[in-house]
C-alpha cells in the first residue's frame, strides 16, 4: 500500500515539475535562454489569481484569468526585454552568461515588486476542492481531489500543446523557428513573432503550475523557487530541446523524489536529484531526449 501511495504522490508532484520543465523548454527552444524568471512570472500570475478569488470568491474564475495573465506577462517580457537583450549583448566574455544573469535579475525584480505590493507574509490561495485524500474502504490514499486537478490540468496542457505542435500551422512554425531560425525566416515565417508566442505559451504553462500547486501549500513571493529548480533539473534531464523529454524528466524526478522521501529521508532529496542528474548527464551529456548533434547556439 505504501508503495502505491508513494507512487501517487510522485505522479502528482511530477506533473507539476513537468509543467515547469515544459515552460523552461518552450523558452529555451525559441530563444536559447534558460528563463530563471519563470518562477517569479508564475508566482505573479498566481498572485493575480489570488486577488481575483479574494474579489469574486470563485477559484474557477481566477484560474483562466491567471493563465491569461501569465501568457501576457511572458509575451511582454520577451517584447520589452529579451528582444532588446539579444540585440545588445552578442560578444565578449559576458555573452554566454548574459541571459542567465538577465533572467536572474528579472526574477529578483519581479519578486521584490510582488513583495512591495502584497508583502512577504504567507497567503492562503484557497480552492473549493478538498485537500483530504480519497478513501477506498478504510484506507485513505494521500491523493486528494486537488491532486487530481493537478494531474488533470497537466494532462490537459500537454494535450493542448501536443495538438498545437503536431497538427497546426502555428505548431509547425514554432518547430521550424526553433530548429533553424534562419531557414524558417527564409521560408516566410516571422521568427520574432513566433518566438513571442513561445514565450506566451511558456508563461501560461507556468501560470497553470502556480495556480494549481499553490492551494496545497502557501503563497509567498518566492514560494515557487524550489519548483523552478526541480523543473530545471527535469528539463535538463529530458534534454532541454524536447517537450516529451521535459514531461518524462518531470515524472521521473517527481516519482524519484517521492520514493527517496519515503524510504531515505526528507533532507537528502535535492542532493539525490543532483546525483540522478549527474548520472544521466554523464551517460548522455545532452539529456535523455536531447539531440546528440545539437546546433551550436
Amino acid at each position: 500500500m505504501i508503495f502505491i501511495d508513494t507512487l501517487l504522490l510522485g505522479i502528482s508532484s511530477g506533473a507539476i515539475y513537468s509543467l515547469m520543465a515544459l515552460a523552461l523548454v518552450l523558452v529555451w527552444r525559441s530563444t536559447r535562454v534558460v528563463n530563471f524568471a519563470q518562477a517569479s512570472q508564475a508566482v505573479l500570475s498566481t498572485y493575480v489569481g489570488y486577488e481575483i478569488t479574494m474579489r469574486t470568491h470563485n477559484y474557477w474564475v481566477s484560474l483562466p484569468v491567471a493563465i491569461l495573465f501569465g501568457a501576457a506577462l511572458g509575451s511582454s517580457i520577451d517584447l520589452l526585454f529579451m528582444f532588446y537583450l539579444a540585440k545588445k549583448v552578442r560578444s565578449g566574455p559576458i555573452a554566454e552568461i548574459a541571459p542567465v544573469i538577465a533572467t536572474l535579475g528579472l526574477l529578483g525584480l519581479l519578486q521584490s515588486i510582488i513583495g512591495l505590493i502584497w508583502g512577504n507574509s504567507f497567503l492562503q490561495y484557497s480552492t473549493p476542492l478538498s485537500g483530504k485524500g480519497f478513501t477506498f474502504g478504510n484506507h485513505t490514499v494521500p491523493f486528494s481531489p486537488q491532486n487530481l486537478l493537478i494531474v488533470l490540468a497537466t494532462a490537459l496542457v500537454l494535450i493542448v500543446f501536443g495538438v498545437v505542435f503536431k497538427f497546426t500551422n502555428l505548431g509547425l512554425a514554432l518547430r521550424a523557428a526553433s530548429f533553424q531560425p534562419e531557414i524558417a525566416q527564409l521560408a516566410g515565417i516571422r521568427v520574432g513573432r513566433i518566438r513571442n508566442i513561445g514565450w506566451a505559451f511558456a508563461g501560461a504553462a507556468g501560470a497553470v503550475a502556480g495556480a494549481v500547486i499553490t492551494p496545497t501549500s502557501v503563497l509567498s513571493p518566492n514560494s515557487l523557487d524550489l519548483l523552478l529548480v526541480s523543473g530545471f533539473i527535469a528539463a535538463v534531464m529530458g534534454g532541454l530541446d524536447s517537450l516529451v523529454g521535459a514531461v518524462i524528466g518531470g515524472l521521473v524526478l517527481g516519482i524519484g523524489f517521492a520514493f527517496i522521501l519515503q524510504y531515505v529521508g526528507s533532507s537528502v532529496t535535492f542532493l539525490a536529484g543532483f546525483f540522478i542528474l549527474v548520472i544521466v548527464l554523464l551517460i548522455r551529456p545532452r539529456g535523455l531526449f536531447g539531440h546528440q548533434l545539437g546546433r551550436h547556439a
Binding site: V89, P93, E96, L271, G273, V278
Partner: protein, 334 residues
C-alpha cells in the same frame, strides 16, 4: 597597475602598497566598517573564483555557494574536532574544496552551458541539507568556528585595543590581496592564455595543441580552491558555520558581483565586492528615507540589486568601471 605590461614583481609591489595603505586606514574606522571591510575581502576572493571560471574558462557555475560551504565546513571541522590551528584549518578547507572541485570539474568538462548551470544549481540547493544528515556537522545549529582573539604578537605590536573585527579585516585583506596577485599572474601565464583560447574557439585551440578538457578541469579546480578559501574565511567572519549561511542566494550574489565587476575583468572584482556590501547599507538608508515600512525594508535591497544587474547586463556588459572596452574587444574578435 594590473595590466599585462607589468611584471609580477611590479604588481606585487603595487598590491603591497595597497595592503599597507589599507592596514593603516583600518586604524581610523569603527568596528562596523572593519567588519564590512572583511566582508568585501571575502566577496573579493569569491568573485575572483567566478571570474576565473566564467570570464576566462567560459564555464558557468550557479553552485559556487555550495563549494564555499564545503570549504567552510571542512575548515570548521578541522578547527573544532581535530584542534587544527586556524591557519591550517583554512588550508585543510581549501584542500577538501579543491578535491571536490576536481571531481565536479571532471563532470563539468563534459557539459556545456545550461547543462552545467543545471547541475551546479542542483548541487547548490541540495548540498546544505547534508548538514542535517550527519551528527558531526551539527545540523541546523552548525559548527562553531570562533578563532578567538587576535594573536599576542599583534596586540604587542598594535596595542591592546586591537579588536577582533580589525584582526579579521587584516587577515582577510591580506589573503585577498595575495589571491589577486596570484590569479593575475596565473591568468597571464600560459595557463590563462590556454583558457582564453579554449573559451574563444575550442576547435582552433585543440588544433593548436591545447588540451581543452584538461584546461577546463584545471580551471574548475583552481576556481573551487578559491571558492573554498572564501568559504573558510566567511565561516571565520561569521564565527559559526550553518547550512543557512550558504543558501542558493549566496551563489547568485557572488555571480552578481562578478557581473558587476565585468566577468572578464579581475581588477573590477574589487568594485563588485564593494557594491555587494554597499547595497544593503544603501537600500537600508533609502528605505528609512522613504518612510521605513515593513514591505519597503524587506524588498528594497532585492529591488536595487536586480535593477543594477539588469542595467549592467543591458548597458555596461563589460562591468561597472569599464570604459570603451567593448570596442577593443570587438576589434580583437573581428
Amino acid at each position: 597597475m594590473l595590466k599585462r605590461r607589468h611584471s609580477p614583481l611590479q604588481r606585487g609591489g603595487f598590491l603591497l602598497v595597497c595592503g599597507v595603505v589599507l592596514l593603516v586606514a583600518s586604524n581610523f574606522v569603527d568596528e562596523l566598517r572593519s567588519y564590512q571591510g572583511a566582508q568585501v575581502a571575502v566577496y573579493l576572493v569569491a568573485i575572483s573564483s567566478i571570474i576565473l571560471l566564467t570570464g576566462y574558462s567560459g564555464q558557468i557555475s550557479l553552485g559556487h555557494g555550495a563549494i564555499m560551504a564545503i570549504g567552510s565546513y571542512a575548515a570548521a571541522l578541522a578547527f573544532t574536532l581535530w584542534n587544527f590551528s586556524f591557519e591550517f584549518a583554512i588550508l585543510f578547507g581549501m584542500l577538501v574544496g579543491t578535491l571536490a572541485g576536481f571531481i565536479l570539474g571532471v563532470a563539468a568538462a563534459r557539459l556545456s552551458g545550461p547543462y552545467l548551470a543545471g547541475t551546479t544549481l542542483a548541487l547548490a540547493v541540495g548540498l546544505p541539507s547534508i548538514a542535517d544528515q550527519f551528527k558531526v556537522l551539527g545540523g541546523e545549529q552548525g559548527l562553531n568556528f570562533d578563532i578567538g582573539d587576535p594573536p599576542g604578537w599583534i596586540k604587542k605590536f598594535e596595542g591592546s585595543d586591537f579588536t577582533q573585527y580589525k584582526w579579521f579585516f587584516w587577515l582577510m585583506a591580506i589573503v585577498a590581496l595575495f589571491v589577486i596577485w596570484a590569479i593575475t599572474n596565473l591568468l597571464q601565464s600560459s595557463y590563462g592564455r590556454n583558457w582564453r583560447a579554449a573559451r574563444n574557439n575550442p576547435v582552433a585551440a585543440s588544433l593548436a595543441g591545447i588540451n581543452v578538457v584538461r584546461g577546463k578541469v584545471l580551471a574548475f579546480t583552481v576556481s573551487s580552491a578559491l571558492a573554498s578559501l572564501a568559504g573558510a574565511l566567511f565561516g571565520i567572519l561569521l564565527g559559526i558555520v550553518t547550512p543557512s549561511a550558504f543558501p542558493l542566494a549566496l551563489s547568485f550574489t557572488i555571480l552578481t558581483g562578478a557581473v558587476l565587476a565585468g566577468v572578464g575583468n579581475l581588477a573590477g572584482s574589487i568594485a563588485g565586492a564593494v557594491v555587494l556590501v554597499a547595497i544593503p547599507e544603501f537600500s537600508g538608508a533609502l528605505a528609512t528615507h522613504l518612510g521605513s515600512s515593513q514591505k519597503l525594508t524587506a524588498n528594497l535591497p532585492g529591488l536595487v540589486t536586480s535593477l543594477l544587474l539588469i542595467f549592467v547586463v543591458l548597458f555596461k556588459p563589460e562591468g561597472l568601471l569599464q570604459k570603451n572596452r567593448a570596442k577593443s574587444i570587438k576589434q580583437l574578435n573581428s
